[in-house]
């Protein structure tokens, strides 16, 4: 018996992840942006490092829940989480948790290359039969859609920025090796920078 993984299938997908990140962030407006560890961190940093980004360098499985805590604390701001299939698969239970809270300002975007790209391009479970948007839909997300090409991307962009939350969008992207574009990696600095930008000087005062 063998498993159902189709390693390398995603090499043929048309959408390049950096172009997807650029398109997603072009319309961010006032949105606060969280990126999961690894490639989505480099993606948002390639678009431009900024104080109201929180790029994770660790905490695998935690990006979506970090987004929930932020969205609950800031109900007047859109919170956009970009993360990979590996990070989401490690925290699938959090989709149930998030759907249960029904944050109307939270959008999760799975940038799905079907691979653990940082560790040697090994296939993830989405390279087989696992359907992330199907899981999000079954969990009870208010808005769920997916994109595999330019037309799909154009369709989901308005949902990411304005769809009724919680939103779950899965975008299949091409498996490729890209230059790493790294933001600062000191988490305490990233945290203080983010809080200063969002909350003002009182956020780090005594």
């Amino acid at each position: 018996m063998s498993d159902v993984l189709q390693a390398g299938r995603s090499r043929a997908y048309p959408l390049p992840r950096r172009e997807v990140a650029k398109a997603l962030l072009a319309g961010r407006g006032e949105a606060l942006v969280v990126a999961g560890l690894g490639a989505t961190n480099w993606d948002i940093s390639a678009v431009g490092d900024r104080a109201d980004n929180f790029p994770l360098w660790g905490a695998m499985g935690g990006a979506a829940m970090l987004g929930l805590g932020l969205a609950l604390a800031q109900p007047g701001r859109r919170v956009l989480v970009l993360t990979g299939d590996g990070d989401l698969l490690m925290g699938l239970g959090s989709l149930a948790t998030i759907a249960t809270q029904r944050p109307d300002n939270l959008a999760l975007v799975a940038i799905d290359n079907e691979s653990y790209a940082e560790t040697g391009m090994q296939a993830t479970a989405t390279a087989g039969v696992v359907d992330l948007p199907g899981i999000a839909r079954a969990a009870g997300f208010a808005t769920v859609d997916s994109a595999v090409d330019e037309a799909g991307l154009a369709r989901v962009l308005p949902l990411v920025h304005g769809g009724a939350g919680p939103v779950f969008i899965a975008i299949k992207v091409r498996l490729e090796s890209l230059p790493l574009v790294m933001p600062p990696k000191d988490g305490a600095y990233l945290k203080d920078r983010f809080r200063l930008a969002l909350l003002g000087p009182g956020a780090v005062a005594a």
Partner: protein, 175 residues
Amino acid sequence: MSTVTIADWPQDVFRSLKSHDVRQIAYVPDAGHARLIELARADNAMRAVVLSSEQEGVAQLAGAWLGGQRGALLMQSSGVGNCINMLSLPAHCRMPLLMLVTMRGHHGEFNPWQVPMGQATRSVLQAMGALTFEVDEPAKVGETVNAAARMAFEGQALAAVLLSQRLIGAKTFGR
């Protein structure tokens, strides 16, 4: 449930959390936290979030802090094991994390499957850099939570209150 042994310490914990402006309560239930969860769920100024697994709460409360809110994570000692790697997030980023842990695996534990993690809980938390505060007298729970909350929020530290099974009584499943 015996109201004599339970006393009113959950109310004291709730008062302490309110006084520290805790706004997000993340929890995986435990019998010892039942009353506190009810109080939090009934409070309009608090958001009580039931988790699928405890490490979700660590990430949630990091997000809450980024957004300007304080939180507390309620779990039993078995849940501490589920949190270990995720504790790197608040530890490295120097974010506060207040944890209220009801202990299992001690003091007449009925279920031996709870013993390994229960016995390791304090060491594991300390290994990840958390301050630990043990309490086993009902009258001292409120002040202990207060002390832990102050050190967490004022010091951007990980702080765990370990609520002894003596407070809650060993679970017996009616035996």
